[in-house]
């Protein structure tokens, strides 16, 4: 049975609270709200828009980034590929520890199948973009296309994008936008290699 770590708005807010060095009570005080009420809202994941904005202001949450995780996507063709905002680096540092703990566990439990490890990670976190955002270094860009309600992610180091653009013959590695699943497999392979060193 896979461990579940499905993201919710409340979970992200709680992570930001911890990251900023606050307790929920302190945040409630700062927002002028009742602590028990606020705690209840976060437990039930019933944060409304007004409260979300208050949290965002206080904790410096990138709402554009957060919206990416939860919004229902409109169709985005390959030609339009939308570039996703990356997670705040401080947040990534914390999230990386969590995701790596799952990944390392699956690598130990399922030594012979990258596909199965990837499948378990996806079952645990339920969000391809979140996994890529956490596991890829900051210098990677992540783009999305949405075709027939199916999201596809493309990842590439920023310097390669700058070098190759999308024009001209003889460009190197233009399709070394790794598709999301392929990228995850590479990350798993490299993590395995790191563990085995």
């Amino acid at each position: 049975m896979p461990l579940k770590n499905n993201l919710t708005i409340s979970k992200i807010i709680k992570r930001y609270i911890k990251m900023r060095g606050y307790t929920i009570k302190q945040v409630a005080d700062k927002l002028g709200r009742n602590y028990k009420t606020l705690d209840g809202i976060l437990c039930r994941d019933t944060v409304d828009a007004e409260l979300l904005f208050e949290f965002a202001n206080l904790l410096d949450i990138d709402l554009c980034w957060m919206a990416q995780l939860f919004e229902k996507r409109r169709p985005i063709s390959f030609l339009e590929q939308y570039q996703m905002s990356r997670m705040n680096p401080e947040m990534r540092e914390g999230e990386l520890k969590v995701v790596l703990s799952y990944l390392d566990r699956y690598i130990t439990e399922i030594p012979d199948s990258i596909n199965e490890i990837k499948a378990e990670l996806m079952r645990s976190f339920n969000q391809m973009f979140y996994l890529l955002d956490v596991l890829l270094p900051e210098n990677y860009i992540i783009r999305i296309s949405v075709e027939r309600d199916r999201e596809k992610y493309y990842c590439m180091p920023l310097q390669t994008v700058e070098q190759t653009s999308r024009l001209g013959r003889g460009r190197n590695a233009t399709t070394q936008f790794y598709e999301g699943h392929e990228m995850l497999k590479r990350i798993i392979l490299e993590r395995k290699a790191e563990i085995n060193r």
Binding site: P75, D112, S113, T164, G168, H181, L189, A193
Partner: protein
């Protein structure tokens, strides 16, 4: 007989990273081989396999394969025998290409921003003429000259022309017999593996639908494909056709993918979503006129009024003209980008490409 022996990394499938080719050999192997081009030597890439072997120099002396090739850059009808070092420290035959073309210089694969695999190769053969052996049959040992003696195996290079009398009179006849005996065992994918399955008209069970969706969601395109065909057979709608098309494209079967995208258009009419795939797909298939036509068709859509998209389309048309050796026309499309774009990176790149192309006129 035109023959060449090549020594490459030992893998199971040679189609990139798969579970069977997930190396357990540790960090050093990954660092060295994760982007090694020979890992794709038996990938069916739009009906062909493209082979790579590391050359310490920058060219292959193809006249040593066939002396008639002295003044040419290619030699045809070559049997390329792929060998690799197994865990017992023996260099064994792992597969071969028949009727292959061998190039004097490395070639770069056709690749576009949307499709393709950016890699080098020096030989190619139709997938039907490529044979990768299962592990259990990789037992024909090819020696090393340093051990067996001069002319009796691989030397310093990773390829061997096998010109010695020992090779010609003794080894090669044995190799040919071995290849003929094991042809039927091949494990690499040929074109028919990407076609509709035999049980095409069988409706899917609930459990099969669930499996199909799982494969689809995980981008396990080869496993998805037989289900995809059956789904389309059962309900011939555009969604099913689209899913087959994208699976085929992901599996590098670009010509087949094109046919299925065209089917989508037949069923549901023109749409931005489908039509925006076509320019690069045609380009990937080296159908440059069709690619231009497909790109120009995109201007009628509102999505093409967005600057990035519009300039991307200009770029596609520019490239196609370049590939068709219509350099001046290509430059005119680059000029459109230079006139309109405010993206500094794009402007810099476009200007540099324009200079490069101008020097060719």
């Amino acid at each position: 007989m035109n023959i060449l022996f090549c020594n490459i990394t030992y893998l199971n499938n040679y189609i990139g990273i798969t579970d069977e080719d997930m190396p357990n050999k540790g960090g050093e192997w990954v660092e060295k081989n994760k982007d090694a081009h020979e890992q794709w030597n038996f990938l069916n890439y739009n009906g062909y396999c493209y082979g790579f072997v590391m050359n310490k120099g920058d060219r292959f002396s193809i006249e040593r394969i066939n002396e008639d090739a002295k003044r040419n850059d290619t030699v045809d009808d070559v049997t390329v025998v792929w060998c690799a070092l197994n865990d017992n420290n023996e260099t064994v035959i792992v597969g071969w290409y028949e009727n292959a073309t061998v190039y004097r210089y490395y070639q770069n694969s056709v690749v576009t921003p949307a499709f393709g695999l950016d890699r080098w190769y020096f030989t190619k053969a139709k997938a039907e003429n490529c044979y990768l052996l299962p592990e259990t049959s990789r037992n024909f040992v090819i020696g090393r000259a340093s051990v067996e003696g001069k002319g009796k195996g691989f030397g310093q290079q990773n390829y061997w022309y096998a010109e010695s009398s020992y090779a010609r009179e003794e080894l090669i006849p044995q190799v040919v017999d071995f290849l003929n005996e094991h042809k039927h065992e091949r494990i690499n994918r040929i074109d028919s593996d990407f076609c509709a399955p035999e049980n095409l008209s069988e409706p899917l069970t609930e459990s099969e639908i669930s499996k199909a969706n799982e494969h689809f969601d995980n981008s396990e395109d080869f496993d998805y494909l037989p289900y995809g065909y059956r789904m389309f057979e059962s309900t011939q709608n555009a969604d099913h056709a689209y899913n087959i098309a994208t699976a085929l494209a992901a599996l590098h079967q670009y010509k087949s993918a094109l046919n299925w995208f065209e089917k989508v258009v037949e069923i549901e009419g023109d749409s931005w979503e489908t039509n925006s795939q076509l320019p690069y797909l045609y380009q990937q298939c080296e159908m440059y006129e069709e690619s231009i036509e497909a790109a120009e068709k995109l201007f009628k859509y509102k999505e093409a009024t967005e600057e990035n998209v519009r300039h991307e389309i200009f770029g596609i048309i520019a490239d196609n003209n370049y590939y068709l050796d219509r350099i001046q026309e290509g430059i005119e499309w680059l000029n459109k980008i230079l006139a309109e774009s405010k993206d500094e990176i794009l402007l810099k790149h476009t200007a540099s490409v324009k200079e490069e192309w101008r020097s060719l006129i």
